[in-house]
Assembly symmetry: C2
Homo-oligomer: 464 residues x 2
Amino acid sequence: MKKLDFAQDDIIALATPAGVGAIAILRLSGQHCIQIVNQVFKGKNLEKQASHTIHFGTICDNDLVLDEVLVSVFVAPNSFTKENSVEISCHASPYIIQQITQLFIKKGVRLAKAGEFTKRAFLNGRFDLAQAEAVADLIAADSELAHRTALNQMRGGFSLKIKHLREKLIHFASMIELELDFGEEDVEFADRKLLTSLVNELQSIIKHLIQSFAVGNVIKNGVPTVIAGKPNAGKSTLLNALLNEEKAIVSEIAGTTRDVIEDELVIEGITFRFIDTAGLRQTNDPIEKIGVQRTEQKMKQASIILYLFDVNDNFTEELSKIKIDLDAQNIPFLMIGNKVDMLENQELIKNKILDLDFSENQIVFISAEKKLYLENLQNALLRMVNLDSFKNENTIVTNIRHYESLLHTQESLFDVLNGISSGITGDLLALDIRNALYHLGEITGEITNDDLLANIFSKFCIGK
Amino acid sequence: MKKLDFAQDDIIALATPAGVGAIAILRLSGQHCIQIVNQVFKGKNLEKQASHTIHFGTICDNDLVLDEVLVSVFVAPNSFTKENSVEISCHASPYIIQQITQLFIKKGVRLAKAGEFTKRAFLNGRFDLAQAEAVADLIAADSELAHRTALNQMRGGFSLKIKHLREKLIHFASMIELELDFGEEDVEFADRKLLTSLVNELQSIIKHLIQSFAVGNVIKNGVPTVIAGKPNAGKSTLLNALLNEEKAIVSEIAGTTRDVIEDELVIEGITFRFIDTAGLRQTNDPIEKIGVQRTEQKMKQASIILYLFDVNDNFTEELSKIKIDLDAQNIPFLMIGNKVDMLENQELIKNKILDLDFSENQIVFISAEKKLYLENLQNALLRMVNLDSFKNENTIVTNIRHYESLLHTQESLFDVLNGISSGITGDLLALDIRNALYHLGEITGEITNDDLLANIFSKFCIGK
């Protein structure tokens, strides 16, 4: 790893969210931070305490008591940043947090920049860059799959895969570099056939990872889903029926997730984000409006369109028109026949449907109001996303930076293959392999630079 | 203290504010909580760890890792609640907080009610009721004085004063009870003269405490302040000039206090809360409108009125009218001559002012735009609040419940004095003394009941 210079000065930040609560944590890190906290702490001598111990006392600005606190001491290298660290657990009062922070600023500690604790942890070798990035994803994760993917990445699963790929390539790179040393003797240490088969193997793994990004994106950002249909088809009722079930589960723990699930529905760990189609709903003839030209923008946002219709209406013409439009745009859709509880003649509808030539997976029947057969709808949604092939996989690319690095790696490996087949010289081949290694190394931070790091960590919150 | 029954079941709550941040703390308390956390913690055996130690590991729901965490172990009675306690420091993700909380609910832990941790701390004798109530005040405190008063109360300063008062009374109460035992022998163990002088002494202390509530209220809730004046007198400019200075100081620490100081100004630890007088501003003739009838409601909210005028206008008639109105309503006011930087003839204005017969403390001259002489305005504001007599006192009543109990104590002591002077019998005297003791005891919770406790702690946030 390229060693970066940075001053080991002492930093402080609020690590817990701002707002009303019982406890707030102020986090300090840096060579002198235990000593500095000790100067303003009335209680035990913190400099003489073992790592990972907690001490009750007061934080005082000279004689003025600012708060009664618990101080946790972490002695380097046994801390998150691998530096000396202190966590001050004080009352979650903005005034107290401000006063304590200002006291430490007076003592020469400076405010941490966004992501600076994590950046220090990375620079001190606690984890690699992909792992550090996963911390932010983990905090943002709001579904089972997003959580599992981020946690796996944070714990090094993805990094290990990249590391294996690099190791294999490095072996060949060194072989070829060796050839260059013996350049005039015209020896081939690196078997071109073996190299070809290795690169092909790597390409297949990288291709799979690149493909996983589509899934990773769904996992991280949810599936954009549009519920369309004529007025009074029951769109709002359906959305409420779907969301209410979810809200009932979540509301067990008041205040934790309510904001997050607003207009989102998590089914078996996958988030479906419902896009407001108010524009569509207000038109008089929604069928017409779902044409390519006029609603293109809304539709492009949607991965899935749920088209709701009233089974008691004459829907044959409506649905066949919609089907042609959506098929032309290649947008996955699901027809939802609503209000089955009010249906009088079941046979009649069967015949109507048969005429329309839908596949089994393209249509379900429910009653949104009576909450009947909603599980069929949910299962159909899950089938449409079809994450099955990735669902049990731990390594899924969710980060666009990693995705781009993998694309570049793929290109470089393609150049390697081309080079071998056209018999280019070892030094040119070495260049292409080094390019591939460079791009793989960008992912985990073996290859890095100040700008990249600044860019990555500035997206973190302060205190992380 | 009346011992209350309550089940020592295990409780959990988020102790840190909800929202985006790096770290969240889930707090557990109860006899079995260390053992329960240990069941889902992969790391060291928590049951074998010393109190006040921190342990890294993962929280797992069977094989599913929910998060990497730091677990702090507190062994009874060395915890906030005096019960076994655990603090789990996890990533501040709503999803993770929800998952971990649900895991513990599955394990038989229940969600804590508002204030339940503090209530347990009180019931287990960590502190008395007045101290417990101060915790909420401390978290809400947003100025130096509010903070100092709450902290002193939390640390037992106020309780100690009440305790001393009670002890003195208890001594006499027991003397009189002794008389009752010897009822038929007609002895007086309790010297009526000494009792009278004691009660007079207590009354004077209690009166002082009751009086301090007016100040306590200002400290806790701020001074409601109205800035009035003709359009273009410079009201907004003044408010911004005053607030901006403060904001500049506060904004050093982003995100901690910005919401709190909105429209509030803290001068030397005292909060001035500016009341919106948009209604006044929109009228064509604001002078007329500041009459008793029409703006009575706004005015009643104000402890202080700042009346701003342009020194370059003809203000004599305007100000004299206002002065008569405000004097009639007995509202403290301060006349502020603005735009002195644009003044051409200083002598002229001096003569105008002399005609108006203001006291030296009733008028200041500034330039809001140029930020000139704002410190004179601030000093004038401080003089108007006149906290000097209480400023260096630690024991100030800020809680309306305490205030009411003190009023009841005062009444009972008044009855005692009346009783002595009218020579009533010892048993009746004992009743009045016991009443006074009862009301004093309510403050610190020596006398309490379930309803009172429920009422007090329900005002706390969950997790406290």
